[in-house]
Point group: C2
């Protein structure tokens, strides 16, 4: 059932793969020690790009949707991980309240909710779904594609706790990325576990902070393996408060795009890579407001600026944007003729599965997370963390997938550092 | 790839299955709370018999071999569980020493060692295999069927620690059931973790003690579900020190066999079961010395006694035996025409997989763990703990397997109670 993948099974990333395989016990021990010091995010998904010559995470989601794209074979791993996660947080828990996105019109998203409910039910919890959308006034049953229903209920807030009618949960699981800011109804829930915490929401998170943490993680990991961290780390620069309408910040953007393109060019030269460097310009706060732009030359910034200004005029994006400029990582993965990128799903400290995001109309240097994307489950669970030591590097899908699981966990570790750094209650424990 | 199973997919055990399914969150929470108070055995395997009208464990192995019978699909679950187990015991561990059975001539057993090594390597440990067999003087490489080799090395004992040449493990994993008694070389290793502990060996364990604990567990579980514990509990009696040569203990045997047959008959009548009750007479200490005898009537004991005396004369079994008389549980599982029984594998608190033990030449009331048995892996990992709530009871393999996983975990919990009760160091922590 593994789809045909053009580059998943071969490619010049063999040396890194070999190092990763040879170092399996050291890598697993390293993670084990890290998790003694740091708390993994409750769950996460990591978009990975494999350029053939480098392999890097490009986005780490702390409120992953898309659980419905995991295959039935992956579910036992997810359930086992959910059991481990719950046991640490609230072992006596009976009830789990899942808070979905406010917009639940997408049938894919409803399937995701049904899958999350299934996973946590199997892990031993009574699961109900409570919306914080003020428009939802009454319990509403909605059909899920492929059969079954999901019951959405309006949450009820008491002074200290959040629940549903006749339902008082120990733990509240957010599946809502809070990009519009954390609603007041979720604040000051000091008696209940709210996971992930509010500061994991996109109203607080910054991509640049995440990738700063990831840079630190990749340096230490590179040292462990004796490899150049650039092979797994996308470089980036950051421009705070770019206001195109007023022309403010354009100089920062130009300087940083130029500097980053220069750094990438130097690395490409060092490794003899015959590709044209590019960077990706996007909102630092994870919003889609300013879009996701591929830039190959500072000259491209004029067009970008013009397009951006039009969007500001149409009020599609705020006038002021926090901007991250990230090294573009090509994806050389292809499924049939469509460009593909692996997405790794994690629960607690464990890789539980993944799939390929495939887009027929996009190029190898473009964002695939766009309308028209398709999701092709891969039999990750059969193989994720089970490299075949005897195999030639690049020749074994399990080995390649193990490497993806390692990169996914590095990004998750970076998210853990990031959440520690931004924890508003951190001083309490100091 | 699931083999054809005559009764795995239907059968009159539907009501129990329905209760188990309806109670999934309560069951999982109950286990979660139990594991807060009790330590699960490091690993275990449980033989289960499904009579159609009752479902019960008949043997709980704390040094499971046969890991090679798990399918590749089950390995990620085993690896994840191994990670969880190691993390609790010795998170900084680099090295794991596996101590195999002294007799490693069986190629099946070598495959089992290779599989254990694979699982713990993937979990992040350097794994080496050190034999306590005094006949092994030098490192010896042996071929494993299907490719690969296993290196057996003689252990080296220092005053306080056990290891190999240039290999000092934090944790020592016993895959040797110590039925001949714990060798002195394994004693007083107070600086290292020896798992399972010495008192889990068959020189200390008694089946009657295990099933006493299991009876307690099944009563509490029966109460949780509102079902008669007999539906999951094999009744038993116990005769200590039966010496057939001297005719001592025969009366105890006769009385207890008769009493147990009477109790079973009563239960069969209560449930309208049209089967002939039988009991199984076996050594209480897990040795195969006195064999495993099916007894349908006290009159059968004469033949048993005669056969036994002959074996004592031939020195195949000691003259004195501790004897357990256990309610015989039919197995109504069949694969093609051969009688089959499920075996569930557990690591730490998790069900990681299982298979069917199949024996073409044995009856539904006989021990299948005998020469000629075959092992048919089942896709447990796809489904073990993933019941399909919508399905009619008995109609879904995943649901049936979930129930097996629950029974396996009840037996593991009983083993945990048992090990606590027999822990020679227990008073230290009181």
């Amino acid at each position: 059932m593994v789809p045909h993948l053009l580059t998943a099974l071969d490619g010049p990333i063999d040396e890194l793969e070999q190092r990763v395989l040879d170092s399996t016990p050291a890598i697993e021990r390293w993670f084990r020690l890290e998790w003694m010091e740091h708390t993994p995010p409750f769950y996460s998904s990591v978009d990975i790009r494999n350029a053939g010559f480098k392999l890097a995470p490009v986005d780490t989601n702390l409120f992953p949707g898309g659980w419905n794209n995991l295959t039935p074979e992956m579910l036992p791993l997810a359930v086992q991980s959910a059991m481990a996660a719950i046991e640490k947080i609230c072992p006596e828990a009976k009830n789990l309240l899942v808070i979905p996105e406010n917009d639940t019109r997408s049938t894919f998203y409803l399937s995701n909710l049904a899958q999350l409910k299934r996973i946590f039910h199997m892990a031993g919890l009574n699961v109900r779904i409570g919306s914080v959308n003020p428009d939802l006034k009454e319990p509403t049953t909605v059909d899920v594609p492929g059969g079954g229903t999901v019951l959405l209920e309006p949450v009820i807030r008491s002074k200290r706790r959040l629940g549903l009618k006749d339902f008082d949960p120990c733990t509240i699981l957010l599946n809502n990325d809070l990009s519009a800011g954390a609603p007041g109804i979720l604040e000051d829930l000091n008696e209940q576990y709210l996971l992930p915490p509010l500061h994991a929401g996109w109203s607080v998170r910054r991509k640049s902070r995440h990738f700063k943490s990831y840079e630190e993680v990749s340096k230490r990991f590179g040292k462990l393996l004796g490899v150049d961290p650039w092979l797994i780390n996308p470089m980036f620069n950051h421009c705070g408060e770019v206001n195109l309408a007023k022309g403010e910040g354009m100089e920062c953007l130009t300087t940083n795009v130029d500097a980053l393109l220069g750094k990438i060019r130097k690395k490409y030269k060092e490794y003899g890579i015959n590709e044209k460097p590019f960077v990706v310009v996007k909102s630092d706060d994870g919003s889609y407001g300013m879009g996701f732009k591929t830039v190959r030359d500072v000259k491209d910034l004029d067009a970008l600026g013009q397009n951006w200004r039009q969007r500001v005029e149409r009020k599609e994006t705020p006038a002021v944007n926090d901007v991250i400029i990230q090294e573009g990582v090509l994806t050389n993965e292809r499924m049939n003729d469509a460009v593909a990128e692996p997405v790794v799903y994690l629960m607690d400290r464990y890789v539980v599965g993944g799939f390929y995001r495939v887009h027929a109309d996009r190029g190898t240097d473009q964002n695939l997370n766009a309308p028209g994307a398709q999701y092709v489950p891969l039999a990750f669970s059969e193989s994720t963390r089970l490299p075949q030591p005897g195999e030639k590097p690049g020749a074994s899908a399990p080995n390649r997938f193990y490497m993806y699981g390692v990169i996914g966990r590095l990004a998750m570790l970076a998210a853990s550092y990031e959440l520690e750094a931004t924890d508003p209650d951190a001083e309490v424990y100091d």
